[in-house]
């Protein structure tokens, strides 16, 4: 581990155009949020990739544990009644 005091790490999210969500683009180091925003502009939007940027310090993100993946997401697999295709309709009903 480095003993130097480094700029913290920030995650960058970019909205590519109006109507779409911000999407994770990558990360960068910056001294504070304002600087992270300025740098994100130079690093991730050099070719008009965005119209809006979010930055959030990586430390502030709580991620789900990959080892808990089964416990978290498997229960959704057998709940087929959550999908419209589970329900049979008489042929007479054309659109629903």
């Amino acid at each position: 581990m480095s003993n130097k005091k480094n700029w913290p790490l920030w995650e960058v999210f970019v909205r590519s155009k109006a109507g779409l969500s911000h999407r994770h683009s990558g990360s960068l180091h910056a001294a504070d949020a304002e600087m992270a925003l300025e740098m994100a502009r130079d690093v991730y939007t050099r070719r008009s990739e965005g119209i809006s940027i979010w930055v959030v310090e990586s430390n502030n993100i709580l991620a789900s544990d990959p080892d808990a993946k089964d416990a978290l997401f498997d229960p959704a697999n057998d709940k087929i009644y959550r999908h419209p295709t589970f329900y049979e309709l008489p042929d007479e009903v054309k659109y629903m």
Binding site: M1, S2, D42
Partner: protein, 316 residues
């Protein structure tokens, strides 16, 4: 779960083209290999700015100058994407940079050659970026998610680099006799180092087999070199220039170009630090880093000050 079991699960994922993400279990040697490869790739992008920066102030027109500036800025960006990808594996960026400065970590040897004339900028874009793209396109499908995503961005941006290089070469090759001579001279000096960029011949390449199994690597060094050769020789002829390889011939039967032997002694000599510019490149990199130290420190202090002002204001 037993260690062996985890390794099997890992390899099955790789075999089934499921990407490995930073927090997933991975063999320690996979992690180490990636840290080595991605950090050296990042260093190459950053050191790669130096030979070109030499010509920004000497570009022959404003158009060429803004294009070169944009290219060099891209290289800085590519270095940053790659350092970020590397950091997801649990290393600190500063530590990888220290390894570059101490000589422990390498960067692509190609950047240890000097850029003597404007034609060198053309040859670098066309040949060096061309070879880099050939290497990088398969890396877009690398098994490690963050590396793959970084490479997709890099490849998207880099295709203009090769075109701007070839466009310089076209102009020079069709210019005055002196310009044409410069173009040929640049090709003579960059041709072989560009072919060396694909690394040692397959029989000599120590990390290849394992990297293929892990799907970090998709094609062998010699396969990629052959593709580059087949693509580039006709481009060189189109310039009206000669390929500096007396043994070069087209094999009608296979449909491939065949090259003479590479001077691997030269390659290893440059890797070991004895190229024309090794010392200069490291000195410049280290100088830029050290000279910028006060800026990084001041920015942190300023950020702290702003933060405490804000909390004072809130308390008042």
């Amino acid at each position: 779960m037993a260690e062996k079991n985890l390794e099997q699960i890992f390899q099955e994922k790789v075999d089934n083209e499921i990407k490995i993400e930073p927090k997933d279990w991975m063999p320690e040697s996979y992690r180490k290999t990636l840290i080595r490869q991605i950090s050296q790739h990042a260093h190459s992008e950053v050191v790669g700015m130096l030979p070109e920066a030499n010509w920004i102030t000497r570009a022959p027109s404003l158009t060429r100058k803004v294009a070169l500036l944009a290219k060099v800025q891209d290289e800085a960006g590519h270095g940053l994407y790659l350092y970020s990808a590397c950091e997801t594996l649990g290393v600190e960026r500063d530590d990888t940079i220290d390894d570059l400065h101490s000589g422990k970590a390498k960067y692509s040897s190609i950047f240890n050659y000097p850029t003597l004339t404007w034609a060198d900028i053309g040859a670098i874009g066309w040949l060096v970026d061309g070879a880099a793209i050939m290497n990088q396109v398969p890396l877009c499908r690398c098994s490690f998610g963050p590396y793959s995503r970084a490479m997709i961005r890099v490849c998207k941006e880099e295709s203009f680099h090769q075109r701007q290089g070839y466009s310089i070469m076209l102009k020079m090759a069709n210019g005055t006799p002196e310009q044409k001579r410069m173009a040929q001279d640049a090709i003579n000096r960059w041709w072989w180092p560009a072919l060396m960029m694909f690394g040692p011949n397959d029989a000599e390449s120590e990390h290849s087999a394992q990297s293929m199994k892990w799907k970090i690597k998709r094609f062998s060094n010699d396969e990629l070199r052959q593709r580059f050769l087949d693509m580039t020789v006709p481009q060189c002829h189109l310039l009206g220039c000669e390929v500096p390889d007396p043994d070069l011939k087209f094999n009608e039967e296979s449909g491939h170009w065949e090259m003479g032997p590479i001077d691997w002694d030269e390659f290893w000599n440059v890797v070991k630090g004895n190229g024309k510019c090794n010392r200069q490149r490291l000195r410049d990199r280290k100088g830029a880093y050290d000279d910028g130290a006060w800026v990084r420190e001041a920015a942190l202090v300023y950020a702290d000050k702003k933060k405490s002002r804000k909390s004072e204001m809130a308390a008042a």
